[in-house]
């Protein structure tokens, strides 16, 4: 009995506790990201934004959640029921499951696996399935067009994201995310690899289907795109998954380029602040850029989007991979 408790039961319970400790703050962050988005957009457009529910409108996300929860789930009669319901669940699930390998501080990570970067890349490349399944299962033209656009877009931008990740990995010499952060002790990678940082950020916008690359939703031509047939909780799951993905891509940007949980300078009082707080602050900064871009840049046309991905970013990041490798070899800076 004691052996069973120590060997199986307690580790399982401990892992569940850790998972809850990651997911609950994440969901709260998602809720307040929607609030922050509306407030930031409002400020940039000289409006008030949500300000009636609670002090400064702080309870607005919960009011929205409650509203969506209380509505009726409508499934179109021509829809493929199983796939239709599975698609939002998949999006939401993928938005959460990637957080298993994110290091929040030195040693504060649920699964410190050797191939953490590849795991993140794999999970983010799966995000397209939720959308493509939703588009097909809805049995609607607009949803289908949105799904197709999204599939093409995400596959295209993954290529350049992969090359950017390779550039960073060349400088680190390990696929472990903790090692990636620790390798930035001397200098954060966004300084030597600044062009790659920009490419990664723009590709992250495309990968999460955010403005100016929000063609899969494109309300001006597709009336909402892949999620046009969704209502109530199925829609809410898409929404949550999408915002969780935004936070995830910001976390990836922070880990790969902005030094993860490390303070900007390793001097007091900056290094008195614990690592997870630095990590959260940097994520918030990147997220602010996401919102800023949405408020300023007009939506791309579809052919321009493809041109940017294949004809600009792909050759450019490929050249940078070669350049970085060449410099590392020439000066004998390769990590051991």
């Amino acid at each position: 009995m004691v052996e069973f408790w120590n060997g199986y039961a307690w580790p399982t319970i401990w892992i569940v506790i850790q998972i809850v400790a990651i997911i609950v703050p994440l969901l709260v962050a998602v809720a307040y990201l929607t609030y922050a988005e509306r407030k930031v957009l409002a400020a940039m457009q000289l409006r008030q934004g949500p300000n009636l529910v609670g002090p400064f409108g702080l309870l607005q996300p919960f009011a929205d959640g409650l509203k969506l929860f209380a509505k009726e789930t409508v499934i179109p009669s021509g829809a493929n029921r199983v796939v239709f319901v599975a698609a939002p669940m998949m999006t939401f699930f993928l938005g959460l499951v990637a957080w298993a390998v994110i290091p929040f501080g030195e040693g504060i990570v649920l699964a410190n696996i050797n191939v953490g970067v590849l795991y993140l890349f794999a999970i983010s490349s799966l995000g397209v399935y939720g959308i493509i399944m939703a588009g097909w299962a809805s049995n609607s033209k607009y949803a289908f067009l949105g799904g197709l656009r999204s599939a093409a877009q995400m596959v295209s931008y993954e290529v350049s994201i992969g090359l950017v990740i390779i550039t960073v990995l060349l400088c680190v010499g390990s696929l472990n995310l903790t090692d990636v952060v620790l390798a930035q002790r001397t200098v954060w990678f966004f300084i030597p690899l600044f062009p790659m940082f920009v490419v990664f950020f723009i590709s992250a916008l495309a990968e999460t289907n955010r403005a100016p690359f929000d063609l899969p939703e494109g309300e001006s031509e597709l009336v909402g795109g892949y999620n046009v047939e969704y209502s109530s909780m199925t829609f809410a799951l898409f929404f949550l998954g999408e915002y969780a993905n935004m936070i995830l891509m910001s976390a990836m940007t922070v880990i790969l380029f902005l030094g993860g949980w490390l303070p900007p300078l390793d001097v007091p009082p900056l290094n008195w602040i614990p690592g997870p707080i630095w990590f959260a602050l940097k994520i918030a900064l990147v997220l602010f850029f996401f919102l800023w871009v949405r408020a300023t840049v007009p939506r791309y046309r579809y052919d321009q989007l493809m041109r940017l991905g294949w004809k600009v970013f792909l050759p450019f990041s490929l050249v940078w991979v070669l350049l970085t490798a060449g410099v590392l070899i020439a000066f004998d800076w390769l990590p051991k």
Binding site: N114, L118, A122, I132, W136, A151, M154, L175
Partner: protein
Amino acid sequence: MIVQGLAFYMFAAILVASAVMVISARNPVHSVLFLILSFFNAAGLFILIGAEFVAMILVIVYVGAVAVLFLFVVMMLDIDFRALRSGLLRYLPIGGTVGLILLVELAVVLGAWAVAPEATTGVAAPLPPPEITNTRAIGQLIYTQYVYLFQASGLILFIAMIGAIVLTLREREGVRRQNITRQVSRRREEVVAVRKVPTRGGV
């Protein structure tokens, strides 16, 4: 050990079941979705034997890219499902023969290892010491001992890609293309002419 055993049987059972569903599902889109499920479980099996790099690459390449394009194509096909089912008996002999040949070849390959144990050392490089992560081990092998084979397979893929592009590329007449450099380098003086238009006179 019990947990690993249970995990193995779970992955293996789902893998076999979803592989059966791939060929028996009525709807081709469901087939592709089951194919994705089976890729996933194969990745799980790879992780269980400690090959996490191969597992992740399997998910990234097959699930993240190949299966997406597959799904893309299958979704756009306008398929009559009943017509698809009717050919089953006609194609069963061919499919069965191919499957049988593959099974026999697999058995021969695996059997050869048991019959002649020295064959294993001939085909496989010596196992790296366990403290090296398997990403590093694979890298060291394919860029040293197998570098020519690796480059040759890369070239073959490259040629296949060029071939696919050449086969599908067609020049269409009268397509208007956007030339971004020309657009950007246009000056106001070249394209705008300011005229003095007399009232009721027209240009």
